[in-house]
Assembly symmetry: C2
Homo-oligomer: 279 residues x 2
Amino acid sequence: MTISIIGVGLIGGSLALSLKAKNPSLKVFGVDKNENNLKKALKLGIIDEALSLEEAMKSSKVLILSVPVDVIQAITPEILDMTEDQVIIDMGSTKESILNAVKNHPKRGRLVAAHPMAGTEYSGPEAAFSGLFTGKVMVYVEATKSDEDAFEIADQITEQLEMKSTFMNAKEHDIHTAYVSHISHITSMALALTVLGKEKSQGRIFELAGSGFESTVRLAKSSPDMWTPIFKQNRENVLEVLKEQIAQLQQWQSVLENEDYETLHKLIKKSNKIKRIIK
Amino acid sequence: MTISIIGVGLIGGSLALSLKAKNPSLKVFGVDKNENNLKKALKLGIIDEALSLEEAMKSSKVLILSVPVDVIQAITPEILDMTEDQVIIDMGSTKESILNAVKNHPKRGRLVAAHPMAGTEYSGPEAAFSGLFTGKVMVYVEATKSDEDAFEIADQITEQLEMKSTFMNAKEHDIHTAYVSHISHITSMALALTVLGKEKSQGRIFELAGSGFESTVRLAKSSPDMWTPIFKQNRENVLEVLKEQIAQLQQWQSVLENEDYETLHKLIKKSNKIKRIIK
């Protein structure tokens, strides 16, 4: 089996490295509009050869789409136009827009929509590493619309990556990721801007920054090219959770303004229930 | 030199364990109104003996105040009343209220106000570990108001903990910690509440929670008994930064509502400047 990675960044690169670690003879081709990334990916042993998309279609059984979600949405219909029996696996962080764009495509069955719930705040081939996916969850979205054999091949890859798997429809997926991933990025980025703004007037503010601060702002290092299209495609769900987060913070503000420390204590205690989720 | 830890939790306990790791013969006494914590601290080798505050005052050269900041504020004047030549080191996360409460105390010079910029989201003696402070920053607040010999002893402890040190006045300290520590806790706690609220209507939302989510909400595991008094004592500064954070999120909301993705891209790119601070 030969695999092509469309987009040799953190996700595509880590997938290639993880599969190669298990199958040293596996050939992986890379497609990327960024020549520099292709060179790095070759040098880092992520890919064995750089190809054009057309060449990759001809030479591969499996094509992994790991480019920003606006690009996935734009190229998936064109890729399906060229598809014969290849398996196309979309790794995007949003699903409704992407799947809407191909819902009536005659080759829809060759597409497996999957979202690996794994990542870091870094991007590009140099951020890729074998093991990124180990133990994490692969979400299959609208799996019943994929051909049986296409799904089986995607699922073999998920197994080789040592991932767990779960199933959802696109709507459910996009709401859930808004709540447990996308909003975390916005609160981090907004917090970074708030504190960077204060630094201008206050000077050496970051001297005191510790691990708690680092933990809450590290996602603010994430790539704007990757995240702008995610927020765009998941705009409605992201707006919903963003409004809830603002209302939540306004409640904290009012509790502090009213010096209602009994309610403040209760709010903190209630938030502690997150221990049930994160150990 | 004998040391007493007033409050045998994460901070006091880690300090005892770190000093004992360097000086195996060091005797550490523990004072805590929670009998259970004293038992745990004895069992974990954090303290050698449990004493009353009065006994600890008589038996120790150095007393470390590592209880919640409302308790520090309440007991510091009483402790200074009993002080002869002992050194009292306050480890609280807020400083203005505490130092105001003793500013005219005749024994003010025996107090060294210090804030170790180190911690985790866990609390209690079982959370304590040797090495918590290594490489972190100890902030000395209004150090000129401490007696020379008292400061020297506190600074020897800071050196033994292998910490860096810096100096600030109380006002500056409280503003800075509001921006780089206290607001991180509020955004985390509020985010936990937002997402826990959604789970009620949506069910298996946390199945998709990954390391990014965990990173932004882990501070929501922090103790309400410790954090309510911090927010209370630093209320004005916390309210200032909380309002800025809300305004920042409202800007993101309006950018998304207006589908202004050029500005959204710029905001993310600007937030990336946090890379300068956290590597």
